[in-house]
Symmetry: C2
Subunit: 348 residues, 2 copies
């Protein structure tokens, strides 16, 4: 086999274990701050990307989705499931993996776990939205929903926006206790709260990350004061929302990719032409973000393929010359590309 072809036959694979090592090697705050920068860089060149709503396969208990995108040089996609009932069975609600490929050859150049990476990029995405939309002096965040995503959100907000105080609330106090325990040495002031009203008291940033697949109203209208920024990231499929529609109506709404958010986000409760601003336009300066101190800004985050692309691109750039991957023999590599059969025959 030629050297070139043999190298191309192998695809680096980052396992869950190696992703954890990579995160600790880089440092979790640094990792999420870097990811935030990569996401900002890709959002700033948004128009270059080949964008499509995710391709979902729905069942009664969940969904399996493929999320592809390309910037013309690289192609990435993520496989992700969403099964709220999994948690009760001791399984992850969301698991994911992804691939990065060269557009020029179609050959994959990275295969990676993305359960952890999705948690990290989702938190970095919220931090990016917060950076561009919240009051600059907002350093206290209410974290509503203290499940698998919550600690990542808190760390990313600290790393990117200097958030120093977290007010925690979950319908299950054991979740709040777990979150407190995990963040005990994170350099954050942690305030456990027993009601959502208590949690949002004095918080300039509210992040909701709850997971039930019903029309939920975690926050009602009279609870939310003027000037706050809300990241509503738990509602990410049809029928799954977190905010009362009156809050959405009072807010200036910012989204990732409108065709997807209108189906999956908080704005699924609103008219199909409910006004929204695309976040990439705020990032590259072609649209305005927050326009007054009393405005409520809402990042209606559902997660978009470009964020996964940014994350895969970042991991690919950081694993070089590290021990945090193994090579998989994924691509058939015959001496003569027309002689696939001969390769099989000679392997006997």
């Amino acid at each position: 086999m030629s050297l070139k072809a043999s190298q191309l036959a192998m695809v680096p694979f980052v396992s869950v274990d190696n992703m954890m090592r990579l995160v600790h090697h880089i440092g979790m705050e640094r990792f999420m701050a870097d990811l935030a920068q990569e996401i900002e860089a890709d959002f700033a060149r948004w128009e270059l990307f080949d964008k499509t709503p995710r391709v979902g396969s729905h069942s009664e208990v969940g969904v399996i989705e493929l999320m592809p995108t390309s910037d013309g040089a690289l192609y990435g996609f993520k496989y992700v499931n969403g099964h709220p009932k999994n948690m009760k069975e001791g399984l992850q609600t969301v698991t994911a993996f992804g691939v990065l490929s060269q557009v020029d050859t179609g050959y994959p150049i990275l295969f990676s776990e993305m359960t952890l990476l999705t948690a990290l990029r989702t938190a970095s995405m919220s931090a990016v939205a917060t950076k561009h939309l919240a009051s600059p002096d907002a350093k206290t965040m209410a974290m509503i929903g203290n499940g698998a995503q919550s600690e990542f959100q808190c760390i990313a907000q600290k790393a990117v926006n200097g958030v120093d105080t977290i007010r925690l609330y979950d319908i299950d106090s054991a979740a709040t206790e777990k979150c407190m325990r995990n963040l005990t040495d994170a350099g954050l002031t942690l305030v456990p709260c027993t009601t959502p009203e208590d949690a949002i008291e004095g918080a300039g940033i509210i992040t909701t990350a709850t997971a039930d697949k019903d029309m939920q109203t975690i926050l009602t209208d009279n609870m939310v004061g003027s000037g706050v920024h809300i990241n509503a990231i738990g509602g990410d499929c049809p029928g799954k929302t977190e905010l009362h529609r009156d809050i959405v109506a009072r807010s200036t709404v910012f989204v990732e990719y409108p065709p997807q958010t209108r189906i999956e986000g908080e704005i699924q409760q609103m008219a199909p032409d409910h006004p929204i601003t695309e976040l990439w336009q705020v990032i590259n300066g072609t649209a305005k973000g927050r326009q007054s101190a009393s405005e409520i800004t809402l990042f209606d985050g559902v997660g978009f393929a470009i964020e996964d692309f940014s994350a895969l691109r970042y991991v690919h750039s950081r694993i070089k010359d590290t021990p945090f991957y193994i090579d998989l023999d994924l691509i058939a590599d015959p001496d003569d590309p027309r002689d696939l059969f001969g390769m099989v025959k000679r392997a006997q």
Copy 2:
């Protein structure tokens, strides 16, 4: 970690090397005959499947596609690229890999190379179409295009339909020589031909597997006699055809999934409502196949996600208790599914 969760964290991976071992372990003829049966079984329950046209990302030099489907219990998808210019660079025109998952949990249960597996299933698919559409006494096949797919087509036709004689033609005689060499001990009578006219002389089955991305006319109308069955499998994207439209017009056309074939197949040359029969209906007895000895039947094969699903299902069923896979640590598996962060933290 619980035993159940730890097992679920691992996903079996079949590399190219292990796929070759599995093929030799089972025997290539048996493997393709089995695959043909699996495809027939899935085509017979066609209406159960969640079907969608493939999701493509096109560039000037090729395409990267995702091909998902589900039968309600299992979900499968294939990643596949098509880059005709790759061959000149010593790379495969088509490479592929795929995943099989449980619909109930969204957890993957198989990750497999599919460059080889696609070649095998494509050949088995042609053999299935031939079984249901060709004259039963057709035992001679013209193989037009002697590239990477050709030998697999010949072996599958022998295994499934008892084809005993192959008449080979390629625009490049070196390809024909390679094909002859690879099939020398396959138990087939091989007849190298220097023109397409010569190759189809006396052949009851004609299979075309050519790869250039232009409107090609490998066979012209006056060359093709009555009663033959044609598998046209090389034309599988917009702008890529192999047959003159007059041949298509004279034939009874059978297809996999009409919304995809009308864009990608030979019938892209015809009117949008050109009459076709869905092959699954022939297989389950709800539509007629060949209706006379003089009819020309044409299987306008472009490859559909259900065939890949059948192939993944087959590989998954056959690797149990074999050494032909390794387990990959692909799924994050915290003790408490809400405690993803704690898992990362404790790994430090």
